[in-house]
């Protein structure tokens, strides 16, 4: 599709963007779509910060003795990269941006169940973010995003308390978002929209919300206890007074492993939507894929012990956690097979969202399978704490969650902004990201197997070649991420106006105008067909 001529913005009909102007209309809005855009801006801001830390680290690691910063500063870089990327970008990204925007639209409601609570969630997120930014400016924190005691509670003299308050507060933002989604999906579905006619994105949001509601409070209390221990040295985590540092790890990972499913499940939901739309086919085994989302959410709570195989955890507990960790891999494998089967006898078009979705499937498969190395006790002894782990979780989070997020942004961009972006540039960006990503993180698998530990500011010389390759890949990846930023912002002003259903997709959000009016639907739609009804016999003209 060639880039349209640059015609000025014709006066569009009333929608949620031009319904009101001025900063008050944004900072005090109760409209879930505007809150989604507030989140979009703030998480992009944090993504740029986290990403710049990553680039600094990769430049530093080009030389064995460290090319850029002092070891203490490097420790602060990887800690803040972890905290900012996980708590302020990955966890909120799809649920808070795409979820907030799309759940009411897909469910056929005018807004989420508790709009005020939704706005409160964003403010809580911002307050938590400010605390974390303060801790970064006022000297940074060097405990690693995992805050392992007794280093974080007794031996670190950096801004542990400030970042602990920041993470503690931001946790409540995702608790309230999860609560909002569960109530909306249960109580506000349009007439005729039964559970098994819902789009799979809603199933993924429902499963993610279960984890957010059940897991995040445990992180809140753990970080609260850590802050108390750091301030008052009461000894529940420091062995000097009889405390057990492993208890902190148990409580921390009880949330933090399900948190990685908070990050990947929404991306799976987005990919289900994109694959169905661009293959013009119903998802193969719809019910199985829906149930596997919930299965991942539930099983995800039983496996956290595989983070602690070498920490002196009992070998019998390790046995149980290893078995359960293998079982949680099964639903993910089922999903991948079902997506691939959906393409069979489909009519596949290669717009940008489809490229991101296919990239997701490839990289998520790699990420998931390398997880088997870490669930198996014998190999985890060798690979734990090395770059193999770093490569594994980046394949899942960057290869999976970020590709899914970008795919979702490109898929629903016409609905969000009412504008279309240049498809050719989007395709180029997708390929650059795919190539840059693999070049960055595949060498780290080999580094990990060779035994290079993670979080090292300087390393033995024999690891340099692979580190230089990884750093080269990081620059390509960084460029890849900048391109969408440019043409998406460009499209908001100059992009061709989008029609209500540019991709010909099914789903209630495509039955209203692009961008939708503030009240979403002139009146509440009634659902009659199954989800993804692309088949010819009910070819409803659209």
């Amino acid at each position: 599709m060639s880039t349209a001529t640059l015609e000025p913005r014709v006066h569009a009909p009333r929608n949620y963007l031009n319904a009101d102007y001025g900063w008050k209309s944004w900072l005090f809005t109760l409209d879930h779509k505007r809150i989604a855009l507030l989140y979009l801006v703030s998480i992009t801001f944090f993504f740029v910060i986290g990403g710049s830390f990553a680039v600094l680290m990769r430049i530093h690691l080009v030389e064995p003795q460290g090319a850029l910063v002092q070891p203490e500063t490097y420790n602060k870089l990887f800690t803040l990269h972890g905290i900012v990327m996980i708590f302020f970008f990955l966890i909120p990204s799809i649920p808070a941006v795409l979820g907030n925007f799309l759940v009411p639209l897909m469910v056929g409601a005018r807004d989420l169940a508790f709009p005020k609570l939704n706005l409160l969630s964003w403010y809580i997120y911002i307050v938590g973010g400010l605390f974390t930014l303060y801790s970064a400016i006022a000297g940074g924190v060097d405990t690693g995003w995992t805050f392992y005691t007794p280093y974080s509670s007794t031996y670190s003299n950096t801004q542990v308390t400030a970042v602990a308050i920041g993470v503690f507060i931001t946790g409540f933002s995702s608790i309230l978002t999860g609560l909002n989604f569960i109530v909306t999906i249960h109580k506000m579905r349009a007439p005729g929209l039964t559970w098994f006619r819902m789009p799979l994105f809603l199933w993924a949001m429902y499963a993610t919300s279960i984890i957010m509601v059940l897991g995040t409070p445990v992180l809140a209390i753990t970080i609260f206890l850590l802050a108390l221990e750091h301030l008052f040295h009461v000894g529940i985590f420091s062995p000097a007074l009889g405390g057990d540092p492993l208890l902190f790890q148990h409580l921390f990972w009880f949330y933090s492993h399900p948190a990685v499913y908070i990050m990947i499940l929404p991306a799976m939901g987005v990919v289900s939507e994109i694959i169905a739309c661009f293959a013009r086919k119903r998802i193969f085994g719809y019910k199985i894929v829906a149930f596997s989302s919930v299965a991942i959410a539930v099983l995800g709570f039983l496996v956290w012990g595989h983070h602690m195989f070498v920490t002196g955890q009992s070998v019998y507990a390790g046995l149980i956690f290893s078995l359960l960790s293998f079982l949680v891999a099964i639903p993910s494998a089922i999903k991948v097979f079902n997506w691939t089967a959906t393409l069979y006898k489909g009519s596949i078009s290669y717009d940008a969202p489809m490229l991101y979705a296919l990239g997701f499937i490839g990289l998520f498969t790699m990420g998931g399978l390398t997880g088997l190395f870490l669930a198996s006790l014998a190999t985890d002894v060798h690979l734990n704490g090395t770059y193999f782990i770093v490569a594994h979780f980046h394949y899942i989070m960057v290869g999976g969650a970020v590709m899914g997020y970008l795919g979702g942004i490109h898929f629903w961009w016409p609905k969000i902004s009412g504008r279309k972006y240049p498809n050719m540039w989007a395709g180029i960006a997708a390929v650059i990201i795919f190539v840059g990503f693999n070049l960055t993180f595949f060498p780290q698998f080999i580094l990990g197997y060779l035994g290079m530990p993670r979080r090292y500011a300087f390393y033995p010389a024999e690891f340099q070649v692979l580190n230089v390759m990884s750093s080269a890949g990081a620059t390509v990846l960084g460029v890849g991420y900048l391109i969408p930023l440019i043409y998406l912002i460009w499209s908001m002003r100059y992009g061709p106006v989008a029609e209500p259903n540019p991709w010909g997709a099914t789903g209630l959000e495509w039955q209203t105008s692009s961008p939708p009016p503030t009240e979403n639907f002139a009146e509440i739609p009634v659902v009659t067909e199954e989800a993804y009804a692309y088949a010819p016999e009910e070819a409803a003209g659209d």
Binding site: L214, F254, G305, S314, Y316, A317, F321
Partner: protein
């Protein structure tokens, strides 16, 4: 929440039961039952909780969904405690020797 209106007498009866159970649990604490003191205290507390949930919070008339959510909440808490405790309880058992025929693990408090 169009719950049916519960007669005041029921609330008073439930309140008296709760007071009785409180006195009971305090009394039982004065008898040394060894490890069963903890079991008794938790059982009484659990029954007091059920009384408050079913009558005062009106879960008797609530929808099935609310009940499932409540049970799920306590089940997840039980998961956290059970799995963490499993690590601490089995930490003293040294790994079984090659022949897997390990003698009974040493008793540990």
């Amino acid at each position: 929440m169009s719950q049916p209106i519960v007669p005041q007498k029921t609330y008073l009866m439930v309140f008296l039961c709760l007071i009785g159970l409180t006195i009971l649990t305090t009394g039982v604490a004065f008898i040394d039952l060894g490890p069963y003191n903890t079991v008794a205290a938790l059982a009484i507390a659990f029954s007091k909780m059920l009384l408050v949930i079913l009558f005062f919070m009106g879960v008797r008339h609530s929808s099935g969904l609310v009940r499932v959510i409540l049970v799920a909440g306590f089940f997840w808490l039980a998961l956290l405690i059970a799995f963490t405790m499993s690590d601490y309880r089995t930490r003293a058992w040294t790994p079984a020797p090659d022949s897997w025929s390990s003698t009974a693990p040493p008793t540990h408090p």
